[in-house]
Point group: C2
Chain length 304, copies 2
């Protein structure tokens, strides 16, 4: 068997991961955690795949707005639709995760969950990352795939906990990360059951029911998983509460933040970023001794 | 290896279950379903354990109201609290699942999820079924435990989808049914993250966010599981939409309703019942050819 985490350089971050997995899985050790409680949660945007220059789902929303604009003349005079249709780069860059959710609500309302999933899959198959010129599902981080594999092999129960839309995430998480749809948590909107062509379907409605960001992450972890994680990996201020909620005092737990400090191979951003801003969480990480992973120093390879 | 489903009498229901499991798990068969899509959903009250003479959670709420009454003098003049405190049997019998949810909201608001779970566990350890005089977790149906085991052995992905409160259910589902908390879906209320004694906790708030009954069941199946089940087992009108949502036309699917027609060993009720009313769903089952399980004829043994 080859050594685990081959794309991680030797260093404090890799060692912290290996030590934690050993501590939690060694039977008889005081730090042992049985498999059913070995819950590990991962943010997606900026933690498992690239979130720059914009959230992937925001790019999807932009393309949807443009595709649907001809049948929505009222959008031409209304922000943020106007900016998107006109290709206003500055407005695009300042789209927040919340704006993206609002845009999605406007563009997907009335679709069934099946139609939505189909539309996203078609888009993901064709869309390319503006800088790396390949599908977004090929802009996932190789070291993170190795970590997911390592944890899975050691009996961890892996979950995605992302600010992105849950239906959007589920179109690729199973194939890309090997994480089944029931283990994918995201922001969600209201749905209604209707009969179409003699079959009951769920139709997406415009209102958001849960924004899975900040405090929304522990709330949804409780709702969907029902246990406190022992390991949490994020990269932005939106992950702070999820990391704080992880583990109990004196119990085994590992909290990690990915620091994007690699403009050559990916991006360098933290305090000043619009999407994926990392400021307060980095400060807390320093105070609490959480593990900060440097993309530049800790990863020998970035993309898969 | 002994024959599966030993507490099921030979008959159409047992045969339908065995045939369906074979059809779905036989590789190469046109009805084959890969394990990751072998989703099976079960109602809890009246399907896995007894829901008469009242929902177990309603009994819990009653006991909580009585325990908390001394510090809530305003309850003495207000229904449904008044009836509960005074032991008005008729009012107790007409409590709906929705009343129970409202009572729970009033009695658990302000507790952390951990405190709530602890309170329920303590109550379940002491409370006894009024007729059978044993813990409620011993009022689970032996044939259903055997079915859960059989499906688990054959690679099905089992989930509970109950009108009961998700935090209430999770206190016993793992131990009683072998179904982990992340596979338990129920009605849920709002929570808020707070810091208590230097630790972040989730505090239960009085408002209900999702009533997991009727149309709420397919909506929550989509939210929590993200796939259509291939097998659904319920026992009341509140399960109708879940059964309708199960499977796709021409695909393999099995929809089952437990019919409580055994007053000698458990209870006999359907159209006239207050809790667990089975009327419209029974009619649809007849029209659609769903499998109706007779407790009296199909089960050689009722309780575990």
């Amino acid at each position: 068997m080859s050594a685990p985490l081959p794309s991680w350089n030797d260093g404090a971050a890799r060692q912290a991961l290996l030590d934690f997995v050993d501590a939690v899985t060694t039977e008889g050790a005081p730090t042992y955690v049985p498999p059913e409680d070995r819950v590990a949660v991962f943010d997606n945007d900026g933690t498992l795949w690239s979130e720059q220059p914009m959230y992937v789902q925001a790019l999807f929303a932009v393309d949807r707005v443009r595709a649907l604009a001809p049948s929505h003349p009222e959008w031409r005079g209304r922000q943020p639709f106007k900016a998107l249709i006109e290709g206003d780069e500055e407005a695009l860059r300042t789209l927040t995760e919340h704006d993206a959710a609002a845009l999605l609500a406007a563009t997907h309302a009335g679709m069934t969950t099946g139609e939505f999933s189909h539309t996203v899959k078609e888009w993901l198959a064709k869309a390319r990352h503006p800088r790396f010129q390949r599908p977004f599902t090929h802009c996932v981080y190789q070291p993170m795939l190795e970590l997911l594999d390592h944890l899975r092999t050691r009996g961890f129960d892996l979950h995605i906990v992302s600010g992105g839309g849950i239906d959007f995430l589920r179109t690729f998480c199973e194939e890309t990360y090997g994480i089944p749809s029931s283990h994918v948590i995201g922001s969600s909107g209201k749905t209604r059951m209707e009969w179409r062509e003699g079959q009951p379907v769920l139709v997406k409605l415009p209102s958001l029911t849960s924004l899975d960001d900040g405090e929304g992450k522990p709330i949804n972890i409780h709702l969907h998983i029902g246990k406190r994680p022992v390991l949490a990996f994020g990269n932005s201020d939106g992950d702070l509460q999820m990391l704080q909620y992880t583990g109990v005092r004196d119990g085994p737990r590992l909290r990690l933040l990915l620091h994007h400090d690699d403009d050559a191979r990916e991006y360098a951003y933290d305090r000043e970023a619009k999407a994926g801003r990392l400021d307060h969480a980095l400060e807390v990480a320093g105070q609490e001794g959480w593990t900060v992973v440097s993309m530049r120093s800790d990863w020998s390879r970035v993309f898969s």
